[in-house]
Amino acid sequence: MSDADVLPASAWRPRRLTPAQRLHPWRVALVGGPNSGKTTLFNTLTRSRQKTANYAGVTVERKSGILVTPARHTVEVIDLPGSYSLRARSPDEAITRDVVLGRQARETMPDVIICVSDATNLGLHLRLLLELKKVGRPIILALNMIDIARRNGCLIDIEAMARTLGVPVVATIALRSSGVKELVTQLDDVLGQLTQQALQEGRAPAQGDSASPSTWKEPSVSEIRAYHQEIDQILKTAILNEGTPERFSRQVDNVLLHPVFGFLMLLAILFLIFQAVFTWAAVPMDWIEAGFAALQAWIGSAMDDGMLKSLLVDGIIAGVGGVVIFLPQIMILFFFILLLEDWGYMARAAFLMDRIMGGVGLNGRAFIPLLSSFACAIPGIMGARAIAHSRDRLITIMIAPLMTCAARLPVYVLLIAAFIPNTTVWGGWVGLQGLVMFGLYAAGIVSALLVAWVLQATWMRGEHQPLIMELPSYKMPSAFNVMLGLWDRAWVFLYRAGTIILTLMVLLWFLASFPGAPADATQPAIYYSFAGMIGRALEPLLAPIGFNWQIAIALVPGMAAREVAVAALGTVYALSGDEEAVAETLTTVIAHDWTLATALALLAWYVFAPQCLSTLAITKRETNSWTWPLFMFGYMMALAYVAAFITYHLAVALGAG
């Protein structure tokens, strides 16, 4: 697909909107099934002029963009969540219904509705159009993916269809300009008529109007059957030749959905994704880390010592670096998610994983986000966006941090090296240290599944969600779509989550640096700081689980990220030097200073404890409220405390105290 086929940017989008254009754009809603190519059409219409926000009070994302038509109408295009019917089967579909009917808070009713249908599956998609006709707004039907229909030999009489349906019909191929230009021309016609109407009624155009009242109500089962009959009649007149059904997808599925081979392919793909997020991302992450360290050194040498320098170097630059370093993993994960979704494989992956994940009430599409949480929960939580259903998405976000992330490894390695003897068990086959590490990983997974099961059985009980999902035919992924999607995610992360993370990091730096040590200090400086005071205040609470005051203090700056605990412990024990030297000395120090029971309790603590502010920040961004991150913090803390308590007292009872 050459560049000439994609709409040139200069064609009808002037760089700057006039104030008048900006204030009162026409509102056009894109409504259609989940696999109708609606988002690709949206991307083609609005290109980079897109904005992602949230609908008021819910976790559903609001995607809108600006389009200026050849007739100089400024249009705000809103991409609504995919739905086969206006009847809402999930909170996401409820948004579609509410926006279309004008019931959504702070959203005015759309002026025009563009219904996007998959031309190869009209039997399934046309029902939405029939329902939309009852809403009373001007509608344009876009028969998308018409190229695939033609390739199958399917001939559709567009005029006949437009006549029977009573709405303008345009055949579109979302990525090609030909059909889309026609669609925009048709839109211009409709907007022109609306303007005339407004002027005749003495109103300013595009400012909302007296719409004919909606006669839509939820169809009953007999009405749905009646719709099917009606669609049959319409298709009889409009489809001249049904063509032969597409074989390619079925043949590929014979392999990819094969009980044995299909599952192996899935494992291979999942392994590839995991490798990419875990290993390949490490290269750019190292560059970023080195880059920021160089920046810190440069500024550090250029400035005098003092509060401002510390704020800049240790607070702000370290904070920004701590945000940007997540980007490689997020980009790589989303690259795969967008690619697989565009291609059509995600539905197959959900199909194969359904039996396993459905058992604990998880969605089949949760597997990839949860898998990448083994590298880092941040991209995993963002990747939960691939799950269409709100409740399943929330549960996945809630349990993602329990997956043993890479940041826990430095803590695990430190404690295991200091306390677990390097021996073998079971007749020399298994190393004890490796066994403990495996046990920690297993504890993370099992607890995540248990928490998911408890959540879906009690608090987040929704209706029993049957799995009835379309397996779309395989399509070539579009580089344009993927790039736009990646850009969107990067922006959302940096701007929305990044600001929260940076603020929290600077706050932590402040707590750990002030007030400074007094002149006659016997302990390291951190003892006298606010962080130290908090830690010492927490000590009596943490004593029952075997934590001494050094651990208590180290856990406060340790909230920044899990691996920070090692450096924080080094600071508390007044060790200096680079990371590795500190870790090595620390191993000996704590081996002498702590008991085995304390170490085991700390291990158990780290399996569960939410020692990662970035996770909480990204949860806030993805769930659009503070309730969920607070809930996550609360339940994880509770689990951590209970687990550490049980581990400590069990260990003491068995003589490890």
Binding site: V221, I224, H228, E242, P245, R250, L352, P466, I468
Partner: protein, 135 residues
């Protein structure tokens, strides 16, 4: 389940044939996946009714009833099935099954859309299986 006369099924399922009487050439594809003897002649074919979940891979038939056995008429499952295209008279083919307990199922409706659903929902769909001679 009593065999209803085939004339009660909607007559839409003649694939590959032109809708109107004009001279549009018809591609007569002998390898089309529909059984070629696609006439409603109930001496030539035996139409056996089964639950959709009982079909084997490669089986096909016409939906005769959509009703949740565990609930009254008009239940949520029935609605969702109807919404996805599982309506009386539709032509279904069983394509694939999951590897654990043959759950979920992948079914093709009217030779266009492919839908995945669990056994539990598939129990609500009754299909008149087309049993061809070569079995």
């Amino acid at each position: 389940m009593k065999d209803d006369p085939p004339s009660s099924l909607p007559s839409r399922h003649r694939f590959g044939h032109p809708r109107n009487a004009s001279n549009i050439p018809v591609k007569d594809d002998p390898s089309s996946s529909l059984p070629s003897r696609h006439r409603f002649d109930h001496q030539a074919e035996r139409l056996v009714s089964q639950r959709l979940s009982a079909l084997r891979c490669g089986d096909s038939g016409y939906i005769s009833d959509v009703r949740d056995p565990r609930a009254t008429s008009g239940s949520e499952i029935e609605r969702r099935l109807l919404e996805m295209g599982f309506v009386e008279g539709a032509y279904v083919e069983m394509l694939h099954k999951g590897f654990l307990g043959q759950d979920p199922l992948a079914v093709r409706i009217n030779q266009s859309v492919t839908v995945a659903l669990r056994r539990r929902e598939a129990d609500a769909v009754l299909v008149k299986l087309i049993v061809s001679e070569k079995r």
